[in-house]
């Protein structure tokens, strides 16, 4: 379970541009939920993910993960339990290292990075099997540098690498936004499969309303640092893309756009 309790977040404190994003923001995500988060630019979606992961500091409130207060836990330590895939496909892999080396380094997460050989020969068949499930032919390119792969291939690898080791939470930060529609569909299906297989508690930020409606079992819409729509279970199942669009338009009209 992941809880955000009374989170405050200000930007540009002490300047004329001071902006309050979150003022007492609350959110509770239960185990096994797959939450899709939608909202316009500046609504606080990505800030929320960064606060969960510790990439940015908060100005108040508490973050509780599985009953443990992690508000002051360093970013890298939080990733013991979290896997994250970014919008930019180059963020989740090492471009100058080969596919095999990337798989090996991700496989070692949670263990010590010591002076043993980086690639264990006995694991290579396992990597090949994981890669073959992507249906991208990567299993035959083990010694190709990841920098030579396409964005879609790299994002598929990022997803694979982020979920290879036992984690509890998966954070998806607009992870299909930089891909063409067809590749985005493939990555989205892969995501759904891995979330179901590993029973991961997932938070997915997306601008694609169709994905938000089709995938996951809870949908949240954010606006100016507040949750304006929160549907789970059957309510979520009955929601349509048009319903969300309507709410979107209403909000935009309020803003005077």
């Amino acid at each position: 379970m992941l809880e955000l309790k009374g989170i405050d977040k200000y930007y540009n404190i002490g300047t004329i541009n001071e902006m309050c994003l979150f003022d007492g923001f609350d959110l509770t995500i239960d185990d096994g939920q797959f939450v899709s988060v939608v909202g316009s630019n500046g609504s606080g979606k990505t800030s929320m993910l960064n606060i969960i992961c510790g990439s940015i500091d908060t100005d108040g409130g508490r973050i509780v993960m599985n009953g443990q207060d992690i508000t002051n836990k360093k970013e890298f330590k939080r990733y013991d339990d979290i896997g994250r895939v970014y919008q930019d496909p180059s963020m989740g892999t090492c471009p100058a290292m080969t596919i095999l080396e990337n798989m090996a380094i991700a496989d070692n997460k949670g263990k010590s990075y010591n002076l043993r050989l980086g690639i264990q020969k006995s694991r290579i068949d396992y990597y090949k099997e994981l890669l073959s499930r992507l249906n991208l032919g990567l299993e035959d390119k083990l010694h190709v540098k990841v920098g030579a792969l396409s964005g879609g291939q790299r994002q598929a690898m990022s997803l694979l690498m982020a979920t290879m080791t036992p984690i509890k939470f998966l954070i998806l930060d607009e992870h299909t936004a930089a891909l063409d529609p067809k590749t985005a569909d493939i990555i989205m299906e892969l995501t759904d499969a891995v979330v179901k297989e590993k029973k991961l508690t997932t938070v997915m930020v997306t601008h694609n309303l169709r994905y938000a409606v089709e995938y996951g079992n809870r949908l949240i819409m954010m606006h100016k640092g507040n949750i304006v729509l929160d549907k789970a279970g059957n309510e979520k199942k009955n929601i349509k893309v048009d319903d969300i669009l309507d709410i979107f338009n209403e909000i935009s009209i309020e803003c005077g756009n």
Binding site: F76, R78, T93, C94, I105, K109, Y113, G118, V146, A162
Partner: protein
């Protein structure tokens, strides 16, 4: 002529070990580390004192390496823990080391007279055939460089080595792997300066003296070697970058020897060093901030 070539090879191999250290900081970590100008003579100072005090010359290699690691770790801690910019962290350490090296050595110039060195000792003269006597130094320098290279190659294939390469490539990924990038950077700087101090130790034994100003311009030689090596041989996929860097060091020393041979005075050495480096930067177009072209 033959003497010049042998001299170039000797210097090229010995500075090649230093260039391996610069390769770690500049190419792998993307950290312009000026500590080099201080850690190179630090290894030499320690070696000069140990040898004149009667220690085994082979022991000085290990002690210098460890001392260099300590120096590199300090640079890393200044940068990571106190958030001082990379260039400034190196400048602080380089400046401090100038005095520290003088403290260690006791004076600005320590000559090694008849003491045994790794290039010249009882054990070696027992096994080295008479005919190879004039090549003895270059052979030893070559062997030491190859050992350093093999050990570095082996390290870069370990899990820890993977993490080091990943930090230079994509810091975000290393954080996602639940590892502290700061610790990895400190480790990388430690290994790099260990190699640089080791190179200084070997240089001191080859030229048979320590001089307080011998470190000036070391980082330029190292960067030039790395850039020559990695640019000239970048299309040879079979050649490891570490090999290319050592060859780059030999090539660079050859260029300097050629320039001096063309009538420059030996006091112009640093000017030649700097001018050649500038030419290399312009020719290879490496002067632009390394863009992540693979991203």
């Amino acid at each position: 002529m033959g003497g010049i070539i042998i001299g170039v090879l000797e210097q090229g191999f010995i500075y090649g070990i230093m260039a391996l250290g610069v390769y770690i900081t500049y190419k792998i970590l993307d950290f312009p580390d000026l500590t080099t100008d201080g850690s190179f003579p630090a290894g030499a100072a320690l070696t000069a004192v140990m040898i004149t005090s009667g220690f085994n010359p082979y022991l000085t290699l290990i002690v210098s390496f460890i001392f260099g690691m300590f120096i590199g770790a300090l640079t890393g801690i200044i940068h990571v823990k106190f958030k001082v910019r990379d260039l400034l962290s190196g400048i602080i350490m380089m400046t401090a080391l100038y005095s520290i090296n003088l403290r260690i050595a006791g004076k600005a110039n320590v000559p090694l007279f008849s003491q045994e060195t790794v290039f010249d000792n009882g054990f070696l003269s027992g096994i080295m055939p008479e005919s190879l006597a004039s090549y003895q130094t270059v052979i030893i320098a070559f062997i030491l460089t190859v050992i350093a290279k093999i050990l570095l190659d082996a390290y870069l294939k370990t899990k820890s080595g993977f993490l080091l390469r990943a930090v230079g490539d994509n810091e975000t990924l290393v954080t996602s792997l639940a590892k502290d990038i700061g610790i990895v950077k400190i480790t990388g700087l430690a290994i790099a300066n260990g190699l640089i101090a080791l190179s200084g130790s070997i240089m001191c034994q080859q030229q048979r003296f320590f001089d307080a100003s011998m470190g000036t311009g070391t980082v330029v030689i190292g960067l030039a070697s790395v850039i020559i090596g990695t640019n000239v041989f970048k299309n040879l996929t079979l050649m490891k970058a570490t090999t290319a860097v050592i060859i780059g060091s030999v090539v660079y020393k050859g260029c300097v020897a050629f320039a001096i041979g063309c009538g420059m005075s030996s006091t112009d050495l640093k000017l030649v060093t700097a001018a050649l480096f500038l030419i290399i930067l312009i020719v290879t177009m490496d002067r632009k901030k390394k863009v992540k072209k693979n991203a």
